[in-house]
């Protein structure tokens, strides 16, 4: 039986090497290191606990089953956040397609049915469910983050909640560094405007 290493002394890259050599404990260590930040990012992206947990699980399964394709010259954190962010963005886009149809549902057969389903656009802005979620999320700033564009949301969460460097965020989101800085600045502006009424 192989002796367990002192995990806290190993870098992510070293843990990945142990995982590649078939050590189950190394896989668990990677999950332990990133389950909280990945889940927190996804939760604040999709604002639904159960869904966030499903997406986090999907993220880890995808990453760990493809551990051989991970390239150690990149940070493991960038890799896992990239997979998580893509999962969240894909989900949000699918949800947009499901709800944001100007002509209503494609399954609607009468003009009335089309109009009824098209009303979902307006309903999405601030539904009673959104309001309940906002309370659950613990305040106005969480709700304001939820109203940001997904790209701004990823940037601001990675920068100011997860404390990632601009360069790492650019790598995670596949965006130029300047664009990342612009998005973060605009996101803060929008949050400031959204929260201005609380100060008045």
């Amino acid at each position: 039986m192989a002796e367990e290493p002192e995990w806290s002394r190993l870098t992510d890259q070293e843990v990945v090497l142990l995982a590649r050599s078939g050590r189950e404990a190394a896989y668990r260590e990677l999950v332990r290191r990133y389950e909280r930040p990945v889940f927190a990012l996804l939760y604040r992206m999709v604002r639904d606990r159960e869904l966030a947990e499903d997406l986090a699980q999907e993220t880890f399964v995808k990453a760990l089953n493809a551990i051989d394709s991970y390239r150690p010259e990149f940070k493991f954190s960038s890799w896992i956040f990239k997979i998580a962010n893509n999962a969240a963005i894909d989900h949000l886009r699918r949800r947009e397609l499901d709800t944001l149809s100007l002509d209503g549902s494609p399954h609607a057969e009468t003009p009335e049915a089309m109009q009824a389903t098209a009303l979902q656009i307006g309903a999405r802005q601030e539904s009673p469910l959104d309001a309940v979620e906002a309370r659950e999320l613990g305040g106005a700033i969480e709700a304001a983050i939820g109203r940001l564009r997904p790209e701004y949301r990823s940037c601001i969460l990675l920068r100011h909640v997860e404390g990632r460097a601009y360069e790492e965020i650019a790598e995670i989101l596949d965006l130029p560094l300047g664009t990342v800085k612009t998005y973060i600045h605009r996101a803060r502006n929008e949050l400031r405007l959204a929260l201005a009424h609380l100060k008045e």
Binding site: R20, L64, H160
Partner: protein, 198 residues
């Protein structure tokens, strides 16, 4: 009234200020410009609120659920080699170059062989003659060395007694099998799907 130096802070200046990296000239502007000062204070409040958001964790059995769907890597598996080859364009290019070089050299070898059968035949005959001669010499050397060993006479005596001989063979067989078993245990690697702990 004090003159405020330079233009108002740009978005990059605000980022630098938040990171504590604003240069002296821009800091002097900030100290003297109430509008920029108010703006950065508001930005700082937002950043502080974001940094103070509560930590979040998935449910306690999250890791077990993840591990139930993960296949532990087998470093010696063919699948692993395939994944490494297709991991990036560079690795695919290297693998393709190696495959091309291998197929090319094999084709060249076959073509040359077909075109030069007589040369190959004479070289083959020469190698065979030399090899046979060297083989006989080695065998004779080995036999004379064997006979000159101090334990040779004891081995001959042992071979003359079938009972002793069978005991010696049994011991040797047992030692061999123990060695094989120990090696198999040492080389065994975990390749099975991880059991669902939940």
């Amino acid at each position: 009234m004090t003159q405020v130096p330079g233009p108002h802070l740009s978005p990059d200046d605000v980022e630098n200020w938040l990171d504590g990296l604003l240069d002296a000239e821009r800091t002097r502007h900030l100290d003297l410009c109430p509008s920029c000062f108010d703006r950065v204070q508001l930005e700082r409040e937002i950043v502080e609120q974001l940094a103070g958001l509560p930590a979040m964790a998935p449910t306690a059995d999250f890791a077990d659920r993840v591990m139930a769907s993960v296949t532990i890597a087998d470093p010696f598996a063919l699948r692993s080699l395939r994944q490494r080859i297709f991991a990036s364009r560079r690795s695919m290019a290297i693998a393709a170059s190696l495959a091309l070089a291998l197929v090319g050299s094999m084709a060249a070898s076959v073509a040359w062989t077909l075109a030069n059968q007589d040369i190959l035949l004479s070289v083959g005959n020469w190698v065979l003659a030399q090899g046979t001669q060297a083989g006989w010499l080695a065998l004779r050397g080995l036999a004379s060395n064997f006979i000159e060993q101090p334990w040779y006479e004891s081995a001959r005596t042992l071979a003359a007694s079938p009972g002793r001989m069978s005991v010696a063979v049994g011991v040797a067989l047992l030692a061999y099998l123990s060695g094989v078993f120990a090696l198999r245990r040492l080389l065994a690697l975990p390749t099975q799907q991880v059991a669902h702990a939940g």
